[in-house]
């Protein structure tokens, strides 16, 4: 669905963020991890056409990001910003979420239907009239998620959706990822919470200093402890427990571990 070829990008001349990277995305739910400053947010902005590549090409479906209009691109790919304040600009929750759908020429009624549905998913459906700036950080983040989900694009990129979320908030994000997956969307998530990655994504990509240093099945990626360490990330807590106890398997969930441990006791 996405094909990145020989992409290069730099904010300032002598410090390249990416040098000729190649990457493809299919419909597998995908986590992107890597150290602070690795270039994750930059990549998301390049995909969304908010930054222009120095060199190389990004194809999203049949569109070339360089030549397609922003409006056209918005129908295909949505981005939930890392900093919600960069995204929010309306004075009512409902207006904020309806803005995107209307901007891509959805009818008023379809826009409203999508907006209400998305707000219900994130649990903000009872605050339609609230000013987004009166929401807490975690609620703002959920509002931004709803605003993108309401546009119903084929590809959704979340930049650190779980920041500031409590247990219930993380469950909401988890559920939204599942719902989008059922709708056959590509869900791509930039995130630092390794336990969440283990439980929710089929594919994991590790970026380090502008290079993809690991890419594949989440379980395979989390088996590579040394490379992860080199990239300033780590394996999930449950994976660590399995390793410390000498299991060969790479565990991704508490349930998997518990089951295997019980077996080992028989």
């Amino acid at each position: 669905m996405i094909k990145i070829s020989n992409l290069s990008y730099a904010y300032t001349k002598n410090t390249p963020i990416f040098s000729e990277i190649n990457l493809e995305f299919d419909r597998r739910s995908t986590a992107i991890i890597g150290q602070n400053g690795a270039g994750k947010t930059t990549l998301a902005k390049l995909l969304k056409g908010l930054l222009k590549p120095f060199d190389g090409e990004i194809m999203i479906g049949q569109y070339n990001v360089k030549t397609v209009s922003a409006a056209e691109l918005s129908k295909v790919i949505g981005l939930v910003f890392q900093n919600p304040n960069d995204q929010i600009f309306k004075s009512k929750v409902l207006d904020e979420v309806m803005f995107g759908p209307l901007a891509i020429k959805m009818s008023e009624s379809a826009a409203k239907k999508n907006a209400l549905e998305a707000l219900e998913l994130v649990g903000l459906h009872e605050q339609l009239e609230t000013n987004p700036h009166d929401l807490s950080l975690s609620e703002k983040k959920l509002l931004c998620v709803a605003a993108v989900v309401a546009m119903d694009p084929e590809i959704i990129v979340f930049d650190e959706p779980t920041i500031g979320q409590d247990y219930a908030g993380k469950e909401k994000i988890r559920n939204i990822i599942q719902v989008l997956k059922k709708r056959n969307k590509l869900v791509m998530t930039i995130i630092h919470d390794m336990d969440f990655v283990a439980e929710n994504f089929e594919r994991t990509i590790v970026i380090n200093e502008g290079i993809v240093i690991l890419d594949g099945d989440t379980r395979k990626v989390f088996a590579e402890r040394e490379i992860l360490k080199h990239a300033h990330v780590e394996d999930p807590s449950i994976t660590q427990l399995g390793k410390v106890l000498g299991f060969q398997e790479t565990f991704l969930t508490v349930e998997e571990f518990v089951q295997r441990w019980k077996q080992s006791q028989r």
Partner: protein, 281 residues
């Protein structure tokens, strides 16, 4: 020595109906590392603000009870006086940046200049925290041109450079990579060992369990519990308060394995592997 004494603290923001802090009483000893946990909107940030005096001095509202911080009664002292003793890293790093400084260096120097730290010592302190938080290469960068995690590192660096007696951190590692989060916890832990008193709000329960002496559980402004990580995370009603136990505790709960000789479950990797270890056939 008691560094923080809170008695019957009640607080309501202006124009709101319910108490954001509902009759809190607790004490914190010098050098303790306290973790605060609870659901969204349970009052964690409001409690932080009440320790540095922004509640009630900045936010106004209805206030009752007393908060004494390092000997100062918060109600009777200006925020600027309290700031000499307590530093705070705000929840949203996007808001912490002053917005008026052109480089990371100036941003960190800002607080130090305000309290009149001499030039040479100032530069020394800045170098130390730049190294500590791994942001030395960006010293000349405009603060808004940093990545999210780099900005959060800068916010933490600014406060540590001030060397306050008490440090309050509101979700300081929410955007840090795993290695960075671990380094921050280790650095803060070292500070607490040197006698600095630490209050930290966090959602990373594995880290809270590993590093904190005591954990406070809040719900709707009320203190539900305030005890050791083992006791707090062994509660079987945690999810009703919007939090989960560390992964290690969840495993041991599922297998019903407690720390030998106690009524509590393991909360850290070390404790869990001790309880589970040697039992693998």
């Amino acid at each position: 020595m008691k560094k923080i004494i809170v008695e019957n603290l009640k607080y309501k923001y202006p124009l709101t109906e319910s108490l954001a802090l509902d009759n809190l009483s607790f004490e914190v000893e010098q050098g303790e590392f306290i973790g605060i946990i609870g659901a969204n909107a349970s009052g964690k940030s409001t409690l932080c603000q009440s320790i540095v005096g922004l509640v009630p001095h900045f936010y106004k509202g209805a206030y009752g009870g007393t908060v004494i911080v390092d000997g100062l009664k918060v109600m009777d002292h200006a925020v600027s006086d309290i700031a000499l003793k307590v530093g705070i890293v705000f929840q949203n790093p996007f808001n912490q940046v002053t917005g008026s400084k052109l480089t990371v260096l100036e941003e960190i120097a800002f607080g130090l200049e305000n309290i009149g730290v001499p030039q040479t010592e100032m530069l020394e302190r800045i170098e130390t925290v730049l190294e500590l938080l791994n942001i030395a290469p960006y010293r000349e960068r405009h603060p808004f041109d940093l990545s999210g995690g780099q900005m959060q590192r800068m916010a933490i660096a600014s406060i540590i450079a001030m060397k306050p007696n008490i440090i309050v951190l509101d979700e300081p590692t929410s955007q840090l990579d795993p290695e960075g989060a671990e380094e921050v916890f280790q650095a803060i832990h070292r500070l607490s060992e040197q006698g600095i008193t630490v209050i930290m709000v966090e959602h990373k329960m594995e880290k809270i369990a590993h590093y904190c002496n005591r954990v406070m559980l809040l719900q709707k402004g009320k203190m539900i519990d305030f005890d050791t990580p083992e006791k707090i995370f062994s509660r079987d009603d945690l999810e009703t308060y919007g939090v989960t136990a560390p992964v290690y505790t969840r495993v041991c709960k599922a297998l019903d394995l407690k720390i030998p000789g106690t009524d509590y479950y393991p909360v850290t990797l070390e404790q869990a592997s001790r309880v589970l270890g040697g039992k693998i056939k």
